[in-house]
Symmetry: C2
Subunit: 132 residues, 2 copies
DNA sequence: AATATATACGACTAAATTTGTCGCCTTTAG
DNA sequence: CTAAAGGCGACAAATTTAGTCGTATATATT
């Protein structure tokens, strides 16, 4: 049922790792090893999280990333949007390229559903996901 | 944010069409025309809905499909599962082919989130989606 | 009975998206 | 000044989704 993609999974695993450690910096490589995710992709995901203020990057020897945002204040909605730049339940809700739009018989229903789903995802924090 | 796929959209448009008409049978071709969806794909989707007891198929001249289930009793969850045979938030929750499973650091969190999402989708009926 | 109109379904192709890789650049502690 | 880290654009591979084709089956109408 509309799956999480790998990037989101990697992000979750990384965040879990950060949330469980002390808050020393951890390198992308270390995260990749700890999570068994591909190093390059992990690096990308961490960069994205860092550019959105979830992590803080530190250059140089012994550099890496550090968690700087309280995960109880980051919603699943926010994370998914950050990590895969996402959009909405249907393509036409973001890209205005849907040539069916004018004749589409379910625009309003889908917008309606979309809003409900987004509100739902906004209501769940990452912390809540981790602490079952 | 984890999009609806075309088949689900076509199914929604078809169901909307049925729910708004009188309950005469409507052919796949007519539905496809009314919804501007590709005929073959529409036919498939209708077949699936019919094999799952949402629609009833009638062969022959003037045949077609008729809505036989109360849409207030069909959840979004049910529809998505019927139409794209779907599964769960993550591949590993259904296919047991995820070779990371044993070392995956977020199985439980994802199962947790998955359940919440499913419960949410189960709580919304198709009728509710249509009547904004 | 013949025919036209429908559904049913397996196999295939094409398109789009997702996932992963490579190479090169920048920053900074030691 | 160098090794270890992050940053980023472009590309390639893999997977998934979407759409097509062909053929078989059912049945109301004539």
């Amino acid at each position: 049922m509309s799956k999480l993609n790998k990037k989101v999974e990697y992000a979750l695993m990384a965040l879990k790792h950060f949330s469980e450690g002390d808050d020393t910096t951890v390198s992308a490589k270390d995260i990749a090893e700890a999570t068994h995710a591909p190093a390059e992709v992990t690096a990308r995901v961490l960069q994205t999280l860092s550019s959105h203020g979830i992590l803080k990057a530190e250059y140089g020897l012994h550099g890496g990333y550090r968690l700087i945002k309280d995960l109880s204040k980051v919603s699943v909605y926010e994370l998914v949007n950050i990590v895969d730049g996402s959009t909405g339940l249907a393509k036409c809700l973001s890209d205005k390229e849907c040539d069916l739009l004018k004749k589409c018989t379910i625009v309003t229903p889908v917008e309606n559903l979309n809003k409900k789903v987004q509100d739902f995802y906004k209501s769940i924090s990452i912390e809540e996901v981790f602490h079952v």
